[in-house]
Subunit: 134 residues, 2 copies
Amino acid sequence: MTDAPPRMTKQRAAVLTVLKQGGFRSAQDWHDRLRHDGSTAGLATVYRALQALTDTGDVDTVLTETGETLYRLCEAREEHHHHLRCRACGAAEDIDMPSIEGWAASVGAEHGYSRIDHTVELTGVCSDCAKAGR
Amino acid sequence: MTDAPPRMTKQRAAVLTVLKQGGFRSAQDWHDRLRHDGSTAGLATVYRALQALTDTGDVDTVLTETGETLYRLCEAREEHHHHLRCRACGAAEDIDMPSIEGWAASVGAEHGYSRIDHTVELTGVCSDCAKAGR
DNA sequence: ATCTAAGTGATAATCATTGTCAAAGAGGAG
DNA sequence: CTCCTCTTTGACAATGATTATCACTTAGAT
Ligand SMILES: [Zn+2]
Ligand SMILES: [Zn+2]
Ligand SMILES: [Zn+2]
Ligand SMILES: [Zn+2]
C-alpha cells in the first residue's frame, strides 16, 4: 500500500548533493546554489524534490516568522526533535527536550483538547556570526 | 521618544469590537465579520488596525502551518505566554510554562548562541468541536 | 472657515508556492 | 533497435495572503 518511492533522477540527486552543504535555507536559496553548481534544474522541480524528501523524512522543515519555509537535510531521521537555528547563516543544532512531549499532551488533556500537536523552535545567532558582527 | 499612539477611529473601534467575539482568526475572517456587522471598513484598514494592535500588545498573533497569520484579542497583556489553540474553531487557551523560558536561554547558551528567541505553540481539537465531530 | 497631517479604501504590486501542460526521458515488450 | 507507456521535467501561468500606492476624506488645530 505504500506508494513506490520516486525514481532517483539526476535532478533529485543534485538536490540531495547541494543539501549536504548544510543549514536551513529556502527553496529558492537551494535552487540558486544548484544553478551556481551547474545544474539546470527548474525551481518547480526543486520544490517537488524538497517536498518528496520532506515526506520521506529525509528533510526537516521550519517556518520563519514571515511564513517562508526553510529546508535542511535531516541528520537524526528517526527521532522526533526540535531545532536551534541561526537567523543569520542558517546553521542549526538538533535539540531534544523529552519532557516537552509529555507536557504538551498533558496540558492539552487538562483543557479537554484532543489530537494535540506542538511547535517548539529556538532561533538565535551562532557564535561565528556573532563574532563576524552578524 | 515613543511614537504617539494612533488615533482611535470608527474603523479601529469596529475592529476592536468584532475581536471581542474571541478566537484566533485570519485578517480576512475578521474583515468578513466586520462587513457582516455592517461596517464598511476596507481589508487594508483591517490589516493596519490588527498590525497596530499587535504592536501595542493588545492582540496576539500565531502563524499556521500554511504561513497564514491569525489574530486574537489578547487577554493577559502583560505576561509573555503561549497558546493552546483549537484547529477547528479558533478557540484558544493561554498557557504558561515558566520553565521553558529559562530552558530556551540555557540551551542557546550551551550551544554558543546569543539573542535567543523561541516559539512554543500547541494545537488540538477542543472538546466542543470533538463532540460535534470536528 | 482654512489649513494640515493622519487615516481610509479601492486597487495594484509583491512574493513564495502550486498548478498546468507540452516536451523529454526511462524502461519494457516485441 | 523501435514502438509504446508512464514518469519527470521546466517554462510559465495562477493562486492567495500580505503590502504598497495614492487620491480622497476626516479630525483637529489655527
Ligand atoms: Zn550563524
Ligand atoms: Zn516535540
Ligand atoms: Zn474548537
Ligand atoms: Zn515563552
